[in-house]
């Protein structure tokens, strides 16, 4: 058949990515035959330069990985000329090479895309679903593609995040094995234009990783400070000035002194009390003294 759906996706990254991100990028390039690679982009260039790069490569979609502080990975998905773009924070990345993922699929085979029903409930999720479909589905009769459909991508919404999994279809009765890669996308913003333009949606549940780390540090510090405060309060209590009560002259009015007893001097030893075994007290167990063994030369 003729290849009509001319989708091309440019997959590339900025500088400062670590090995895991690089492998993830390579895995995505293997799984998507309609993708193109490009060199790393310099951080100092503005984001809308990406539009021009894609134009030069004749691509109409883009996946851009951005790494910050060598710790946080952000992913941009965009429809190039005028379409919407979205920025995500990527977490929990596992690549194809992990030995726990035992499945395998043809290189370039077309994937089945499976979406959670929650994608149809909100307008921003609906837009994201359309974006995912256009980016991740391999066009039919693409020259580098294989005609079989032997694996399925799943996108699920759990815990306000989008979870991505890739499974191999083994049998017709839908027994599946995971191929990988797998990652979690945390939506940050959706823009109307490509890498710019007015913000259409901002995720209220998103917390930037910096903020998260800061809160963790603050909570630890707060705990420590609380302990110190408690200690200081206790110290003040201990050394605190005692309240002086004024002498009340009417206090002694009703006091009557007791009768004086004659002084008795004991000359005879009092008889000893009979020893009663206190059965409630635990018996003192006499341990045998261990003989010290001395070495004799």
């Amino acid at each position: 058949g003729k290849w009509k759906n001319k989708e091309r996706v440019l997959i590339f990254s900025s500088r400062g990515i670590n090995f895991r991100t690089r492998h993830l990028m390579q895995d995505l390039r293997t799984l998507m035959p309609h993708s193109k690679a490009d060199t790393k982009m310099d951080r100092k260039d503005q984001l809308f330069v990406i539009n021009e790069v894609c134009e030069m490569k004749n691509c109409n979609k883009c996946i851009f990985f951005e790494a910050k502080k060598k710790q946080d990975l952000y992913m941009w998905l965009s429809n190039i000329p005028e379409g919407p773009s979205a920025k995500f924070l990527v977490q929990n990345v596992h690549t194809l090479a992990e030995l726990k993922m035992t499945g395998n699929c043809l290189r370039g085979s077309r994937p089945l895309l499976s979406f959670d029903p929650a994608f149809d409930k909100e307008p921003h999720y609906a837009l994201l679903k359309e974006l995912f479909i256009q980016i991740f589905s391999t066009p039919q009769y693409h020259p580098k593609s294989q005609p079989f459909v032997d694996h399925v991508f799943t996108f699920t919404i759990t815990d306000e995040r989008i979870w991505f999994r890739n499974y191999q279809i083994i049998e017709e009765d839908a027994s599946l094995v995971e191929i990988g890669p797998r990652f979690v996308l945390n939506l940050i913003k959706i823009f109307q234009g490509s890498f710019g333009g007015p913000t259409l949606y901002e995720n209220p549940h998103y917390q930037s990783p910096n903020m998260h780390r800061r809160l963790v540090r603050l909570s630890v510090a707060a705990k420590f400070r609380e302990k110190q405060q408690v200690k200081e309060a206790q110290k003040i209590k201990k050394t605190g000035s005692k309240v002086l009560i004024k002498e009340d002259p009417t206090e002694v009015v009703f006091e009557t002194p007791s009768e004086e007893k004659p002084v008795e001097i004991q000359l005879v030893k009092p008889e000893s009390k009979p020893i009663v075994k206190d059965k409630k007290k635990p018996r003192k167990i006499q341990r045998k003294k261990q003989k010290k063994l001395f070495r004799t030369e």
């Binding site: 395998n104 066009p139 913000t199």
Partner: protein
């Protein structure tokens, strides 16, 4: 806010008594629903399903998941539950899509002679297979070790039981023999018990021989050589043993009775003459 306003608010009930803190207003999160919808309508491509291959479906419903209820109950922290929910969603999608693909005549199964490059290299798959094999072997080894340990414990238990039983039997036998020797019981029950316990089931009521026990020769030999006990002090020249003539057989002593063989086997018994007779013979010979 200045004081009369605060008082007003307190009176009306908007402010509760206690420490009140001024919260800074959270910046409004943008959610431009109309803009999103418009963008979607512009962005959407009118492609046939066969180009997109997308399925939007919930999970496979089976009795287990029905009890666990909807996806809302899936705890994202519970890894296993979460992954199972993804798996079930993928399964539902596959079950729905495969018949459609078959109708559109798109192949889903790779024929066996179709060799093409795979997403993971053969080397990678070998590594995976090695790892799985080693894991399985380790598990098997641990299972075997556990079983061996259990068997050893059991074997040891059985062994000790047998030893104890044997010791008990020996003790009982000795006691019975001693009692018989001392004369407390004149019944040879302990011998019979031995026989009946081992062969009683087989012989049953047919054996009347059990009353006699072992034959006389056996009994003599047992008395002389077997069953333990003190043998040193068993033969004493006391009044009782001197007066005991039970082992005197007159026929044997005078060589009068029938021979052992009975028929035709006449054994010439060399009967040695007594002391006086021998002396007489000696003096006569001189």
């Amino acid at each position: 806010l200045c004081s009369p306003q605060l008082q007003e608010a307190l009176r009306s009930g908007a402010l509760k008594p206690g420490l009140n803190v001024v919260l800074e207003e959270r910046p409004k999160r943008r959610n431009d629903v109309d803009g999103l919808k418009q963008c979607l309508s512009e962005f959407r491509q009118p492609l046939a399903w066969v180009e997109r291959l997308d399925v939007t479906l919930g999970q496979v419903l089976d009795p287990v998941s029905q009890n666990a209820s909807n996806k809302d109950a899936v705890d994202p922290e519970n890894d296993f539950q979460r992954e199972m929910s993804f798996y079930r969603q993928a399964q539902a999608a596959v079950l729905e899509a495969l018949p459609r693909l078959r109708k559109l005549q798109i192949p889903t199964r790779r024929p066996d002679d179709y060799f093409a490059e795979m997403a993971k290299s053969d080397q990678q798959m070998q590594k995976i297979r090695q790892k799985l094999k080693s894991k399985q072997e380790a598990m098997e080894r641990s299972e075997k070790a556990k079983q061996l340990r259990a068997m050893r414990k059991y074997g040891k238990k059985v062994q000790t039981e047998i030893l104890q039983r044997r010791q008990k039997e020996k003790k009982n036998m000795l006691n019975a023999v001693k009692r018989y020797q001392k004369g407390l019981s004149d019944k040879l029950d302990f011998l019979e018990e031995e026989q009946t316990s081992s062969k009683g089931n087989k012989k049953g009521s047919a054996s009347q021989r059990t009353k006699k026990g072992p034959n006389a020769k056996r009994r003599y030999k047992n008395q002389k050589f077997g069953f333990g006990g003190k043998k040193k002090g068993s033969k004493w020249n006391t009044k009782e043993s001197f007066n005991d003539v039970s082992s005197f057989r007159s026929k044997v002593a005078h060589n009068k009775g029938p021979g052992k063989a009975g028929k035709g086997g006449k054994k010439a018994l060399n009967k040695r003459p007594g002391k006086r007779a021998r002396q007489k013979m000696k003096s006569r010979a001189r």
